[in-house]
Symmetry: C2
Subunit: 170 residues, 2 copies
């Protein structure tokens, strides 16, 4: 099958490995060619690049997504937020407690279900979200440049397919 | 440009979002179409699926990769291992301490540089690595099925490109 060229075809497949391994001649065993391993390395690099971009703000990409989802969906429940953000409730709770302590998020007991919280942004949370959105846009432009316009739609689709299907075997 | 069909073309682009958001009609704002966000969701789902696959073994994919890299490269330094595994030294240290405490990894001071450790697997570490390798293979087969044979090489290449380039702006 004919493959569409990647935007930077001069890069060979082992470039990432070599750079990451500080040019040492390592044996990666079965990891070398594995989707799961490279998905983690790409995510770790992207996470770190976002943190560098948002250094003065000191909030991670996960917290940015959390603020964004609450900001766009005021009153969202913790359960819905956790599912939308790829986390379980137990990992989300300390993040929300931190964001509440820093004055960005309000948690209120739901009238319909006193065991659940509904979430909204404070005025400071909205300001912080606007600052982070600017950082995230720079970060995403950088990712888009790396992925390239030809491959972007398909790459995004495959990531979404993994998120939707990997836990649910046929 | 003609796009090669994805293996499951009936899936539309919003499927992952809808499933993850427990079918609620959420507004994802700029996240909806962002590589960085979906990279994290895919990684989180893959991480969880690996953990489920390796439940009895109770070791994460990151620890599996750590054991694999040490097993294939006996005497590897912490610095080299951190770079190969997409981590900085400060996040690797507690992982190595845990693996040492559980009897899977030996850390010894290097003769050439007494501030550095060289790492090897113990006999138990080698056994554990073999068990985890079987889990990882099942997990990776599942990921490969989701990505599809037509798109696999290109998808992997883009992940490697992100890991190599995202922190290094042009």
């Amino acid at each position: 099958m004919k493959q569409a060229p990647l935007s930077s075809s001069a890069e060979d497949e082992s470039t990432a490995l070599r750079k990451n391994a500080a040019n040492e001649n390592l044996d990666f065993g079965i990891l070398a060619n594995r989707i799961g391993f490279h998905l983690r390395l790409a995510q770790a690099a992207s996470f770190q690049a976002f943190r560098d971009e948002a250094r003065e703000i000191d909030l991670s990409p996960g917290r940015f997504a959390t603020l964004m989802l609450i900001g766009r969906n005021p009153g969202i429940s913790q359960t819905t937020l956790a599912a939308a953000n790829g986390r379980d409730k137990s990992t989300l709770t300390p993040i929300l407690e931190d964001l509440e302590k820093r004055g960005f998020v309000k948690r209120e007991k739901m009238k319909s279900d006193r065991r659940s919280y509904q979430l909204t942004l404070t005025e400071n949370g909205r300001k912080k979200l606007a600052e982070l959105t600017a950082c995230a846009k720079r970060h995403d432009e950088n990712l888009d440049r790396i992925v390239g316009p030809k491959d972007r739609a398909k790459f995004l689709k495959i990531l979404q397919k993994i998120a939707a299907e990997v836990g649910h075997k046929e």
